[in-house]
Amino acid sequence: MSLNLERNSKWMEGSGPQADIVISSRIRLARNLKGMPFPNLMNEAQEAKVIQLVGQAIRTPGVFQAVGELKLMPLRELSPVERQILVEKHLISPDLAEGKGEKAVVLRDDEALSIMVNEEDHLRLQCLLPALMLHEAWRLADAADDALESELDYAFDQDKGYLTACPTNVGTGLRASTMLHLPALVLTRQAGEILTALTKVGVAVRGLYGEGTEAQGNIFQVSNQITLGRSEEEIINNLSAVTVRLADQEREARELLRKQSRWQLEDRVGRAYGLLTNARILSSQEALQLLSDVRLGVEMKILRGIDQRLINQLMVRIQPAYLQFAAGREMTPFERDVHRAAMVRELLAG
């Protein structure tokens, strides 16, 4: 198995436009094959057929020329911990990791490009880049999509566009999203109001009580709600504009904090750093919250000498599956908390 779990994904690089607030940008394209039932109605033979067709397609010269070498891994061949790491790196969904039957993931070496095979749709092509790089991610996804389409027969309708298992994705099949770190909007209690307003302009927000880890550490994910009736460029431009606007608002809130509560702010950041570099037991939730404070301190230049990239890596490395993988064994939650504290201490103080 060629799954390199030690590797850092491209999105963790931590550099690019708006990198002080925007952690990553993602483009997802839902695609299905003509003449086949959607995954919820497929039998195992049909699932295997889809995997085989995708496997063939990614090995053609056209795909290689467009996006480089891609590798396909049947999920069956990965251990539960390995699958969970792919989830923690945001490369596959929890549904794919847990699902029964024949499923697969396709990965490019730098993990900027991945394809989930037999999730809700036959193909879910994803590009995940650091900072605000939605347009770059779209260009990569578009190129991969074109190259795949010359090998695979997509289900496409002249009026409805790309046909998907759920009508909420029909049309472009495009879900664009950005992950933002918005601690000052949360501290100044503006987050709720602003994020509610966004849902009224066709932007979905998850985070305050969203799925899994994204709920914590003041990290929010914004994405387009509508996939039909607008071009890909319109959808991406709109989401980029919303993201920039949110980042500006966050910067304003940070300046306000700096002016009005400088000592409280520096105290909070300093305490978080102190805890992370001294604690002996750390839950993932506590670690994420403290990392959020430290990240804020780094971004506001209150803390110096800490690389943004290190914080992105820590966000992944503190997760349960990753910890257990690094340790090479399964651990009880308590053991994990101890391990987590030691690892964070070492990497942050190092």
Binding site: K34, D145, Y154, F156, L163, C166, L195, L208
Partner: protein
């Protein structure tokens, strides 16, 4: 405003719940929102089902028609339960009832995005011709006749290619 659940902390989360088609809106503080998390899990199937509990306009009687997709056998009622269609052909066979739903969730029912090279058939060429026609008109208005002639030739070329493929459809 204060959290509607604990009435103590300021509300920072706006929560919309749809239960059996009934929509409730709540303003909660972060703590309460987290507390209520299991109940708040948004489910697409329920959401879609909720949307379809709406009454039709006055004077229109509710009528239950059982339609099936002739490729995969899925009925609209089955779709309502799972929120997932069975196959690409469902969009065709269940169109009568899917169409209003799609309009409601998407605000539109006409694809304006990317057209794939192969599966898109002539649509890609027709979109290109539309674009060139607009360009042609602009060039004529700007009296750029030389460029306009080039664009016109390109349109003819494309139109011929459509003809060869069998009359443009």
């Amino acid at each position: 405003m204060l959290c509607e659940r604990c009435q103590q902390r300021p509300a920072s989360v706006h929560v919309t719940r749809i239960i059996n088609g009934e929509k409730t809106e709540l303003y909660l503080c972060q703590e309460c929102a987290r507390d209520m998390q299991p109940q708040l899990n948004f489910s697409i199937p329920k959401f879609l089902a909720g949307l379809f509990d709406y009454e039709p306009g006055p004077g229109i009687k509710t009528q239950t028609i059982v339609e099936h997709c002739r490729e995969c056998g899925m009925s609209y009622e089955q779709f309502q339960q799972t929120g997932r269609l069975g196959c690409p052909a469902c969009y065709h066979y269940l169109a009568g009832r899917l169409e209003p739903l799609i309009r409601r969730i998407q605000g539109s029912s006409q694809h304006r995005g990317k057209v794939p090279r192969r599966a898109g058939g002539n649509l890609r060429v027709r979109r290109e011709i539309e674009k060139l026609r607009a360009q042609l008109q602009q060039l004529v208005e700007q009296e750029e006749f030389e460029k306009a002639a080039q664009v016109r030739d390109r349109i003819r070329e494309l139109e011929n290619s459509l003809g060869e493929q069998g009359g443009g459809q």
